[in-house]
């Protein structure tokens, strides 16, 4: 044997046998081995030289003869702080689009915001998000964004446009003319301050707020009740009995993310909770909230007032007629101070009665706070109507349009447009092309919110900040900065906010403003002790008077109209977002269109079927959808569709239903009585992601009632014991050493808001396929929410179930793949190797859950063949591609894809734990769907850790696996749905 020399004792100690026993850590071992190898080698010899020489010559020849693609990889000249290429940074910010508010974290990879996550520090939204919040990151890369300031449609520079605008504004205010700044509800204190500065500079300027989704009647009712127009803070988390009158508070009403979180906290039955709130909902069309109610009562829009009146009468001791109402009143009286009655009525009288009901129940101060206000949707509808009148008369000289689009969404469009034409100076801050902005003289495009500084006070004392996550992509400027500039201030908006906060929000403490500010920017949120001034006690006499004269429930036979906003495109502002357009409606499962939902009865009367066409008040044609649970003579239509300008995915999708809105009682009305409906010949195909609506008696979604559950926690899930008895196998059960990933879904918490679907698409680069492909049943979503109806078709119950890859430990997809492209990991994850997939689709056929998705066309431009791209929504243009998550491969034509349990997130956290030399903590890895969920219905974790949340949920008596009888051993468990129905 060769004699060994050593230089140090250390070297001697690392004897070769120590290498062999393999106890040493991987990296250290290989380093030592390498060192030893180097020491042993005698340097390059002739053979090595020849090898290297040959290789060099050959590679030089190859390199010289092939055309090299030009690639630019320019390193940072100055490495930015905190930025490591390949590692994501998260910045706290805030989403507010004039309607909805959400406190968020922005995930930034290599300088690009690519994903929105909920900010768990927020006291308002608490880490939850909505579908629109999740999708808003794609709007940053909207193809229809303005790229330059425009003067009469011509590109210009900011200096020039500023000079011209200031000149004109000065001229108007100089001669005492009127300037109007039209915006949605401003909840930004600094923006309001900036507007004030602007007003000072240009006297005669008026701020008019215009909300497309308005709460005008609530404001008015509160003004009558308390002498102050405000929206109270609601606390669904303190309400044991919730009565909703058409208020879609889980979907679109006021602050849905916050309300969902509160609502669901009273609906969870695991973790030792044995009580549940009871939710009764009155409505005409099937809404997201109504479909989650324990009891849903179908009423005509015209009857809401009478029902509310009866409830008020019943509670105040008078006799009510309606047996339902009497029962509800009884239930409510047992929950005084622990109940909540809400309504979306746009009639101030109804809202007055709602106030009185809540007062009688002692809810003020408990579930309804008057010292904390919800600051969204503060606009008075009458103000906008007045403005339209004035503009039509030509008394408005200049208008600044900030984030509004009345040429599309104002019901009396003709009048508005005519008035706008009469206004000589039209300036718009719109960042995306719209019906309104395209008629403006000056387009001063605003930043996207992810490029902006901003602050918000969504509820009294609940502040949050927005900070830019990227430098503005185009030559845009923040609207507030434009206002400041025109007001003569040279301050940038960040400094302006900072100064505002220092003066108005910061309360002197020991650490000083700078650290306060830094903490606020870091957290994104700040809660102060601030409270509103107390309001006088409510006098219910006026409401009682209204109730006594309005309490007759009239069964009138006219057609009634019920307009609503859905959870995807909402008011229509986000219509150019393909993720939202392709999002199936939580009730009908239709995407890429709006439609008229009608009852089976009406369909029979008029000889209509699904996809027939009707006109409503001569508007349309709207395709018909026969909706179970629809009031017999009410037609429900979603707003927000039928855009005429604003990008490829927005234009021509659906019909604009805003002109159907009425105006009464000083508010724009979503519900109108006496609509005319006519049948039109022809059909229109609607893209549905689910076309079969019955569960066919199968035990797929299991449910029970609260009473039965308290009696027997296994109720509804009794069959599971029977199934488990039959699960026998001759093969040894696979044991997973270390980690074994699993997911538990609480069907009681899932309300079907769809946030998870968008979050999944954003995280995993799930392609958008367009309406034609959805019609062919080829949507690509990795997670879907199945929806089934049970019971009476006139007022059915609706149950939902999120379904993604179940990561079966005995997966039927894995053994049928001829090339082993889908395999099982050591951590129990069913994996897809896209590169290996040859696209036989056998795995897809053999998946009992049908969660696998096939790339039928080249949706992503990842195919090797040029010229066969299938991208109807411009999702593969360079700008849109910036949203792609670099951690996830885009899939080429002809391969199967599916939910991966966000494997990239798992790896990321595993690496982090490894570097920090510690085991993974429970809850550290959160999948995109679980992160997005406002109700925390989805829990992900390690099944081997018996203390993990997911294990505890798996151990719950309510837990079951879908199709467990097939012995595919799924890693996803569901907790039985429990409804609080008293039988």
């Amino acid at each position: 044997m060769e004699k060994k020399y050593y230089k140090s004792l250390e070297e001697l100690r690392i004897a070769p046998d120590e290498f062999q026993n393999g106890e040493m850590l991987g990296d250290k071992k290989s380093l030592l081995l390498m060192e030893q190898e180097l020491k042993q080698s005698t340097g390059p010899n002739r053979r090595d030289f020849l090898k290297l020489f040959g290789f060099t010559v050959a590679s030089a020849a190859v390199a010289a003869s092939c055309e090299q693609p030009v690639r630019k990889a320019i390193p940072f000249l100055i490495q930015p702080e905190e930025v490591t290429p390949g590692k994501a940074n998260y910045y706290a910010s805030t989403f507010y689009d004039g309607n909805d508010y959400c406190s968020i974290l922005v995930k930034v990879r290599d300088g690009r915001p690519i994903k929105i996550e909920g900010n768990t520090l927020s006291a308002v939204t608490g880490g939850g998000t909505s579908a629109r919040t999740q999708a808003s990151v794609l709007d940053l890369y909207d193809n229809a964004r303005y790229r330059e300031p425009l003067n009469q449609g011509q590109e210009t520079s900011w200096e020039q446009i500023d000079a011209e605008i200031m000149n004109k504004l000065g001229e108007i205010s100089g001669r005492g003319g009127r300037i109007v700044l039209l915006s949605p509800t401003l909840i930004s204190p600094s923006t309001k301050a900036a507007v004030d500065l602007f007003k000072n500079r240009y006297p005669g300027t008026e701020l008019v707020q215009y909300d497309t989704t308005s709460a005008s009647a609530i404001l008015k009712a509160n003004e009558l009740s308390f002498g102050k127009a405000f929206i109270p803070a609601y606390h669904f988390d303190k309400a044991d009995v919730i009565i909703g009158f058409d208020a879609d508070f889980l979907g679109t009403w006021l602050s849905p993310v916050e309300f969902t979180k509160q609502y669901v906290s009273k609906r969870k039955l695991h973790e030792g909770n044995k009580a549940m709130s009871r939710h009764i909902h009155f409505e005409s069309g099937m809404s997201l909230t109504g479909s989650n109610a324990d009891k849903r009562i179908v009423i005509k829009p015209s009857q809401q007032k009478a029902y509310v009146a009866q409830l008020l009468l019943a509670l105040s001791g008078s006799a009510a007629e309606n047996p339902e109402i009497i029962k509800i009143a009884e239930e409510l009286s047992t929950a005084k101070g622990r109940s909540l009655v809400v309504s979306n009525s746009q009639d101030a009288e109804t809202q007055l009665m709602i106030n009185a009901i809540n007062e009688l129940l002692g809810n003020y101060g408990n579930t309804l706070l008057t010292d904390v206000h919800l600051k969204v949707r503060q606009a008075d509808d009458a103000a906008m109507t007045k403005l339209t009148e004035e503009m039509a008369q030509g008394v408005v000289d200049g208008i600044i349009l900030y984030d509004v689009n009345p040429s599309y969404d104002f019901p009396d469009r003709e009048k508005w447009v005519a008035g706008l034409e009469k206004t000589s100076l039209k300036i718009t801050f719109n960042s995306v092309k719209s019906e309104t902005s395209e008629t403006a003289n000056y387009v001063c495009p605003d930043h996207h919110y992810l490029e902006s500084w901003n602050d918000f006070e969504v509820k009294t004392g609940h502040y949050s900040l927005a900070q830019p996550a990227i430098r503005h992509i185009f030559n845009t400027r923040q609207a507030q900065e434009s206002l400041l500039k025109w007001a003569g201030s040279e301050k940038d908006f960040r400094t302006f906010i900072q100064e505002y906060w220092q003066q108005n929000i910061y309360q002197t403490d020991l650490t000083g403003f700078v650290s306060f500010w830094n903490k606020c920017v870091h957290d994104g949120v700040y809660v102060s002790e601030k409270k509103e001034t107390p309001v006088p006690a409510l006098d219910i006499s006026a409401a009682s008077a209204i109730a006594s004269t309005n309490s007759v429930i009239v069964a009138d036979d006219s057609y009634q109209l019920d307009l609503y906003y859905n959870v995807s495109v909402g008011s229509g502002k986000h219509a150019n977002n393909p993720w939202l357009q392709e999002l199936p409606d939580p009730v009908t499962k239709i995407c890429w269109d709006n439609y008229a939902a009608i009852s089976q009865k009406l369909a029979d009367e008029m000889g209509l079927e699904d996809e027939s066409l009707i006109t409503i008040n001569k508007l349309g044609p709207f395709p018909v959808v026969i909706q179970p649970g629809q009031e017999s003579r009410t037609v429900s239509v979603a707003l927000g569709y039928g855009r005429e300008k604003g990008g490829k995915s927005a234009v021509g999708v659906g019909v604009n239903a805003y002109p159907l809105m009425g105006f009464a009682h000083g508010s724009r009305q979503l519900q109108t009585i006496g609509a005319s409906i006519e049948k039109v010949n022809g059909k229109f195909r609607l893209a549905r992601t689910q076309t079969h609506h019955s569960m066919e008696g199968r035990q797929i979604v299991r449910e029970t009632t609260l009473a039965a559950y308290l009696d027997n926690p296994k109720s509804g899930n009794e069959i599971r014991d029977e199934i488990k008895k039959h699960l026998k196998t001759i093969y040894p059960k696979k044991e997973y050493a270390g980690l074994h990933w699993g997911m538990a879904i609480d069907l009681n918490s899932c309300i079907g808001c769809n946030a998870c679907i968008v979050a999944c698409s954003a995280e995993n680069n799930v392609p958008v396929v367009g309406k034609e492909q959805v019609l062919m049943a080829r949507e690509m979503h990795w997670i879907r929410i199945d929806r089934y109806y049970t019971g009476d078709p006139e007022n059915p119950e609706l149950i939902r179930q999120p379904v993604m890859c179940q990561h079966c430990d005995n997966a039927p997809c894995e053994n049928v793949c001829p090339v082993a492209a889908t395999t099982h990991s050591d951590e129990g994850i069913n994996q897809m190797a896209y590169n290996r997939c040859i696209g036989t689709r056998y795995c897809n056929n053999n998946c009992p859950y049908k969660v696998r998705r096939f790339n039928f066309f080249d949706y992503t431009n990842a195919d090797a063949l040029p010229g066969n791209l299938y991208d109807t929504e411009e999702m593969t243009v360079d700008l849109r591609k910036l949203v792609l998550n670099p951690d996830v491969t885009t899939r080429a034509k002809g391969v199967i894809e599916k939910c991966s349990f966000c494997i990239q997130r798992i790896q990321d956290k595993k690496l982090k734990a490894k570097i920090e030399n510690r085991p993974l903590a429970d809850g550290e890895v959160i999948t995109a769907c679980a992160q997005a969920c406002p109700s925390q219905a989805i829990v992900f974790g390690n099944l081997n850790d018996k203390e993990s949340k997911v294990s505890l949920m798996f151990a719950d008596e309510r837990n079951y696996h879908v199709l467990e009888e097939l012995h595919v051993l799924p890693s996803v468990g569901y907790l039985t749905k429990v409804k609080n129905t008293n039988v």
């Binding site: 079969h692 036989t840 897809n844 053999n846 080249d858 002809g894 595919v968």
Partner: protein
């Protein structure tokens, strides 16, 4: 006294050996007829349509078909199984009937085998074209590679690859070995030098010596022994594509025997369809007699009845199993949205072949031709019913869906039909459609002359 009836002669007309050679080689001689050209033009056009459809599929993707997230296979695998089934008759006739010493097979085995080979080629086309990434289709072969990637031997699709290639290769060799003496004859009769050279090469130096004959007979028997189990195994393995899955309507233990008898059933139907036309067009009525047709019809009754029983058994088992998914799958077949396909299948496969119990019908050329076409249609629908109606409504009703073929899919099917007839038309010009040597071997014992001479 009972006189046992004399079997009908297998070859009609008082023919001597040289007459046989002349008769059978007649279609190869001279210029093709105008019908042949018309046939070629039609078949070629159909094949071209297939080429266009293949281009669409490979370039633009499987999206040009009517498949969706629920239904991953439809016409592609239907056609594949249909063609494989058709490819079962030839080898069955030449191998299994050889082992059972059925002499009547000699008149039909050559063309039936040729049809088998062509049908297998058409069948093999579908698993290839149905791949989302055809260009990487070679991943399916277990070849050594630096990435240490191996195929999945658990997958029935991989078994398919081996089953089909084995079957194709064995059938090809068997067919070619049988051709060698005839190629020798063609070579000897050739008047043109080039023709002589080509057939000389193809005949592998056949001289007709006793030693050659002895070896030829031995190898034929060995190959028949090899091919016989393959007839049973190929469709068994094809049926595993379905039987080993978890989809109700697919996951059925009855599939192997049911598929094999279905395959022979459809194979014989296709042979009949072709030969009824060919015997007329090629003036081979003396060789392929009504007797032959009747014998084949008897096999059709047998296999058709087995298939019919299998259909009923499936229903019984679905009810008996008590599995709601299984029960629904079969209920849905018969009464769901694709019930029309099911009832076409039932009519064509179960009812029409039973007409062959009547001697009049099974000896009528026209009736046989029509029924054989019915069986072809019925067997296509059987595969369609199995593939599509099982998939379109499986476990979770939320994913239930419907399927409609596109022009591209129809084009691919028509394309393979075009390819099939093109190759068959070429075959009748290139090789003797009846095994000359084998017919001669039965001429003495079963020729008309002999039968009558014996009787007199």
């Amino acid at each position: 006294m009972y006189v046992s009836p004399i079997r009908e002669p297998l070859i009609k007309g008082n023919k001597d050996y040289s007459q046989v050679t002349r008769d059978i080689m007649a279609p190869m001689a001279g210029k093709p007829s105008k019908y042949w050209y018309m046939g070629m033009a039609l078949a070629g056009a159909a094949a071209l349509m297939g080429a266009w459809a293949s281009y669409e599929t490979v370039f633009n993707g499987i999206g040009t078909w009517g498949l969706n997230k629920t239904i991953g296979w439809a016409w592609d695998i239907t056609n594949f199984v249909w063609w494989v089934g058709i490819g079962h008759a030839g080898t069955f006739i030449s191998a299994i009937l050889l082992l059972f010493r059925q002499k009547w097979r000699t008149s039909i085995n050559r063309s039936a085998e040729a049809m088998t080979l062509i049908a297998i080629a058409c069948a093999g086309f579908f698993p290839l074209i149905h791949m989302g990434r055809l260009l990487l289709g070679f991943f399916i072969f277990p070849y050594p590679n630096t990435r240490d990637l191996w195929v999945n031997f658990n997958s029935p699709l991989l078994w398919d690859v081996f089953a089909i290639t084995t079957y194709f290769l064995v059938s090809l060799v068997f067919w070619y070995v049988g051709l060698i003496p005839d190629i020798g004859t063609v070579r000897d009769k050739a008047k043109n030098k080039i023709r002589k050279a080509i057939y000389g090469f193809l005949s592998f130096g056949w001289t007709g010596s006793a030693r050659h004959w002895s070896r030829h007979e031995t190898i034929s028997l060995v190959l028949a022994g090899l091919a016989a189990p393959l007839v049973l195994s190929v469709h068994t393995i094809v049926s595993f594509d379905f039987a080993t899955s978890v989809i109700p309507g697919w996951h059925t233990t009855i599939f192997p025997p049911y598929f094999v008898s279905g395959a022979i059933f459809s194979g014989f139907a296709m042979v009949l369809t072709l030969l009824i036309v060919a015997r007329k067009a090629l003036n081979l009525e003396d060789y392929i007699t009504i007797n032959h047709i009747e014998s084949m019809n008897k096999i059709i009754i047998l296999t058709g009845s087995i298939v019919g029983i299998a259909y009923l058994t499936e229903f019984f088992i679905a009810w008996y199993s008590g599995v709601e998914y299984e029960q629904y799958a079969f209920f849905n077949r018969a009464f769901g949205p694709y019930a029309w396909a099911y009832w076409i299948m039932m009519t064509c496969n179960v009812i029409t072949p039973q007409l062959f119990w009547f001697k009049k019908i099974r000896t009528s050329l026209i009736a046989t031709f029509i029924i054989s076409i019915f069986v072809n249609i019925g067997m296509w629908f059987e595969r369609f019913v199995i593939v599509v109606t099982s998939l379109h409504r499986d476990y979770l009703p939320s994913s239930w869906s419907m399927y409609k073929p596109t022009l591209v899919e129809v084009g691919l099917y028509i394309g393979t039909l075009g390819l099939f007839f093109t190759l068959f038309l070429l075959f009748i010009r290139i090789f003797p459609v009846i095994a000359i040597a084998e017919v001669k071997s039965v001429l003495k014992s079963s020729g008309e002359h002999q039968k009558h001479a014996h009787h007199e």
